[in-house]
Amino acid sequence: MRYLPLTDRDRGEMLAAIGVDSIDALFADVPGAARLEGLVDLPNAMGEIEVERAISHMASRNVAAGSVPFFIGGGAYRHHIPAAVDHLIQRGEFLTSYTPYQPELAQGTLQYLFEFQTQVAMLTSMEVANASLYDGATACAEAVMMANRLTRRRKAVLSGGLHSHYREVCETYARFVGFELGILDPVPGGAEDLTELVGRDTSCVVVQNPDFFGEIRDYSDLARNCHDAGALLVVVITEILSLGAIIPPGAMGADIVAAEGQSLGNALNFGGPHLGLFASRDKFVRQMPGRLAGQTVDADDRRGWVLTLSTREQHIRRERATSNICTNSGLCALAFTIHLSLLGETGLTRLAQLNHAAAVSLAERLECITGVQLINRAFFNEFALRLPRPAAAVVETLAEKGVLAGIPVSRFYPNRPELGDVLVVAATEMATPEDMDRLEMELREALS
């Protein structure tokens, strides 16, 4: 078997050195009733050819996003990833290395994490960022829990524009970790009065910008109101590329930012692994979950990096940890760092412009279709449309015609009939004019 270096001769020699007759002697502690004498009921070992055939077959049954006109967003976005990114992350020293607990052997990892943290802080215009979390949704829940710890309050208010999955993860944590949520209804195109709900028992208000329907807002006033009440503002971002074009949360007075970084460096991957970004203020850093790479010097007084402030983490605080998180999203963070290094300021802003231009062009076309109404006042690369009939059926029809048109909001809110005709559409730099032609044509036909 190609991954197992021991030969039968090796095994014989080793058993002799150990002083036992067979390998079974080393499993003697397993209770007899639990010992499997034979093999489990699964196929035996397969060579690369056979494994590749089997898995390729499964892959071929799926419609790859790049093979059709594609307009789905909703928290995961299809962007171009420069070829160099995937080559670099597959270098064995990155791919197969461990968490940098022995910093002398891991300066490569620690340096790129330090660069990553800096990039995230710059993008969000916040003071400090961690070395990543699992994804945006768990980052959002962690942000609420951090706000609870900082304010010593137990109630968070969630905007109706927050991505449904993010809200659901917060609900799960609220139930078991023990805090409360005030959750607003989703009202596409509507105005929420979040200020009214901020009280002396509020730990934080969570808003998303651009929100789930793509709307962009300035939350500076809300930030001030939160602070006046001793509460914190948490801003969620599901399309990190938007920060190449719109006002960053730090400039609005956000206290904590929980975001999804998948758009840079990372493929869609059917929803995982993705990349949770987390940023906050210096004064709150000791309450931040996740790993942190910090700068220091070595015994020769040369600059280097280590994981620091580890006493917040589970392996030291145990019961008193700020979070039970162990893993970050390492390789995904590296891919993000490399992609953003290649883009730089010029590339990022231009890429953001291309996205917005594509979405503007598409929105202008689609809102000309009879019965279709653009809900957004403003948007980045994703917007919401009201259709003259249920969006889910329209999306299914278009899928059969080979066009992936967007997300029917009813998929997230099956019990809200008032949202049944809303479709969320994303257009990135990967959408061509021909793709948009197809979408427009098929949508017209489906609605006629």
Partner: protein, 125 residues
């Protein structure tokens, strides 16, 4: 001349007027290693004897500092925020953590004196 009293969790306390000054012992700081951060309570916070009053962090460990006596936090050693190394350098003096307004001075009686604590370390640790 104020006398030090000691707990089995390696805190010390001594009276200064009507306030009880609390810190961790030399043994404790040597076990912890370099102190990197101290989390102090808020002034006015009430603690019961034996409950957590502060947290002291080194690179490798974080330990609770328990109140040796009950009372209200009257002062905290803000200097430790800027220079946590004071806990290592002078644990019995400048490395003090908090000053408590005592509820009941008699609570000090059940604590070990200097000799008793020395013996405790030798035997137990």
């Amino acid at each position: 001349m104020s006398t030090f009293r000691f707990t089995r969790d390696h805190e010390w306390v001594r009276l200064d007027g009507d306030l009880a000054i609390v810190g961790i012992t030399d043994y404790a700081q040597s076990q912890l290693g370099d102190v990197v951060y101290v989390e102090l309570p808020e002034i006015g916070h009430r603690v019961a004897k034996g409950t957590e009053a502060a947290v002291v962090e080194s690179v490798k460990a974080a330990s609770e500092v328990y109140a040796p006596v009950s009372g209200e936090v009257a002062e905290i050693n803000e200097a430790l925020t800027a220079d946590p190394a004071k806990v290592n350098a002078d644990p019995m003096g400048e490395g003090w953590f908090i000053k408590l307004r005592l509820d009941d001075p008699k609570e000090l009686d059940s604590l070990m004196d200097e000799e008793g604590y020395k013996r405790f370390i030798e035997e137990q640790c």
